[in-house]
Symmetry: none
Subunit: 134 residues, 4 copies
Amino acid sequence: MGITLEQAEVASQAAKQKAQELGVKMNIAVVDTGANLTSFVRMDGAWLGSVDIAMRKARTARYFDMPTGELGKLSQPGGALFNIEHSNGGLITFPGGIPILNGDEVIGAIGVSGSTVENDHTVAQAGVDALKNQ
Amino acid sequence: MGITLEQAEVASQAAKQKAQELGVKMNIAVVDTGANLTSFVRMDGAWLGSVDIAMRKARTARYFDMPTGELGKLSQPGGALFNIEHSNGGLITFPGGIPILNGDEVIGAIGVSGSTVENDHTVAQAGVDALKNQ
Amino acid sequence: MGITLEQAEVASQAAKQKAQELGVKMNIAVVDTGANLTSFVRMDGAWLGSVDIAMRKARTARYFDMPTGELGKLSQPGGALFNIEHSNGGLITFPGGIPILNGDEVIGAIGVSGSTVENDHTVAQAGVDALKNQ
Amino acid sequence: MGITLEQAEVASQAAKQKAQELGVKMNIAVVDTGANLTSFVRMDGAWLGSVDIAMRKARTARYFDMPTGELGKLSQPGGALFNIEHSNGGLITFPGGIPILNGDEVIGAIGVSGSTVENDHTVAQAGVDALKNQ
């Protein structure tokens, strides 16, 4: 099913470190190729409502193999995918979810929630990059 | 788990009194640090649909440690958190939910629903203030 | 809609007092004629999982105008109402939920959860009795 | 909110190690005092259906402050709590969920799923014990 637990923990750990550098408290979820949860950590004091959002961002990024923020551009009123959030038991389409690739193949996705969407995206990207650099 | 039942009832009672002054009928929910329901009252004749909304407002305020109306400003079309309401089994992001603090620590939240959002917020604030003045 | 908030609070208060006599920590829910939540209290330290169960017991008692334990006798394997718990978004059919009557008319119900089913029922009955004696 | 992420990871790591000793593949979830998810890991190749079960076991153990298997003894046909599983959005009441205590205080719970219920319980207990021995 793509990503291993070891890889998920590398991504998760790198994301946590980036969050600490930024001085923010994050929820960090990683899903595999099948969009099933592989790992999750909530930093002490992170928003409780972001537990669910981090997982949804990770799933959403894998469901459509694109960063959640890209999907969000299309789901606005008048957009091609308006209210796509109603599908799949509830999607989250603002930034913070990013697919994880091995070469050209999607092997999973990471979802981060707990701060501004800019910080969420930055922290998720740090997780993705940690695997690229291996 | 933060707020005690006694504190919840002080907040709830103050909110009810404010509602009576305003001549409105409210549903008033209080949750603890873990976003679990601690107390609830529905004033006679208050909207039935507001039972659920009051509880969701209280949970939402605790989930993100901010007044629900602040979240609602960010969840509009084009906003950073568009359609965040699809998470956590359904959030309510218009005014009427406010975190309850003890010093700097969030110990719970109150959610009020049954009138205009302005009145809902005012009544919730009365509940919060009652605990500050103790 | 039957029971008033004032009546619900009399029942709830009497139930809480009985729980204190028994040395147990309870969740106590009261619903009206329409099975809509009227009041709820969680005693400090009461089981978190009993928040939901107390509400379901109260609703179940009003849905069928009988104590929840009576329904539970009929919902056992081989019984006439086997697995009725699957209806209405999830019923609870063990003791602790009791209808509240005014004369012959059902005006609501009380649901109690947090200890043995015997204690739950005893505490719920104390709530019902408090209204009879008014 | 009770357990810290660091403690959750100690418990989770010890549980994973026990699973490796037993030659089984587990999903391991830890929740805090408020029954909110704190950490989760799925070992490579572990059952996908156990992702959800591990989380429900952890929540159930915290909801009632007892091992899930104890609750399961009471929820059998004819038992005092028959069909309690219908509450709280779905409980899991077979072994594998255990509360985590700090002295006398419940600070969270661990839920494990992926093998026989005996193995699930053994692995969960290893997680609990790792925190006792610190």
